[in-house]
Amino acid sequence: MDTVTLKMVTLVAEPVLEEKLTSKLLELGAKGFTVTDARGRGSRGIRASEVPGESVRIEVVVSAKVSDAILEHVKQAFFPNYAVIAWVTTVDVVRGEKYV
């Protein structure tokens, strides 16, 4: 199978950020994304879950350049005051043209 190597950015965030994050992803060049409910605990303890609702896990497959732009935006706009974590994995995807 022909595959293309791209980046997958995963964000786990408190629920109030879902709309803000997903609209920004599209604005920065993502073609789509996947959102699932998530539970867990982090360095902010229960703070993340204080405002009711489950956390969201957002996954998006993009080019390396868009991946950097997403991380930079998340770092500046959300890391200081919100419960958000972000990481990047290198993935081999089929039908790579769908993502860039």
Binding site: R47, V51, G53, N81
Partner: protein
Amino acid sequence: MEILKANLLSPIALAFALGIFAKLIKSEFSLPKDLYTALSIFLLFALGLKGGVELGHATFDDVAWPVVVTLLLGVVTPLTTYFVLRVVGKFSVSDAAGIAAHYGSVSAVTYIAAMTFVKSQSAEPEGFMPTLLTLLESPGIHIALAIGAIKTAQPGQSLKAVLHEVLTARTMILLVGGLLVGLAMGEKNWGSIEGFFDTKGPVFKGALTLFLLEMGIVAGSRFGDLKKVGPFLLGFGVVMPVLHGALGVWLGSLAGLSLGGATVLGTMAASASYIAAPPAVRVTLPEANPTYYLTSSLAITFPFNILFGIPLYFRLSQALHGG
């Protein structure tokens, strides 16, 4: 004392206390989330429908002054909260504005409890009370968030998003939508669904009792945070609702509301939102500490109003109505 006892022994206050107790002994018990949602939809929609039918009977003169004082309360309560927290409590702009957004808005559950209580005391409130509830719901949130956003120099774009969020929230759709549906269908059609939605009937009261059981659990789960918020906020969570409640009862009486109506308006002014306000504040004022606004509104003011505040506002209203 009699009034307080009547309230504390009412099914909803006892169910609420049981919920708190269950949480304090670390019981796993809670209502399934979907049932909780379904109950809240039923209660709010029933209120809206009944309010709409009743609004059809009211004349402009009946409603005009109560509407004016309600809007006035919507403007005053967030401002008093904000300045008390800033000047006396020395809270940051974001924290003060965040808490003010909660205290400027209304807790629909507290409102329903007040309606049920005054009816049990044979002090039937005016039929258009749900209209006043919807009017008081959103100005407070917006005024407080606007202060916070302007003072911390954040872009105004998020205020528009907050406006959309508050106006399209479940509470608003069910209450305002219910009002319009009730108004349009009128008394004749109300008869066909009254058996199910009657806000004085057994179905409504039973649903409310179950709902308060869950609210006790939700409030009880925040009790652990009480020691984190400090003595000022503990006192604030009791004193502020009493001041706002007295103001609401007084203005309501001036506007010509009955004994029951003025009690309910006072309770609305005294209550603090904890459903519509928290997400709006989290998005608009990220620096505000959620522990402060959630704990004060949910673990202090809400139980205080349900157990002690409502009978107190009723007693005040009696005094102002020559009783």
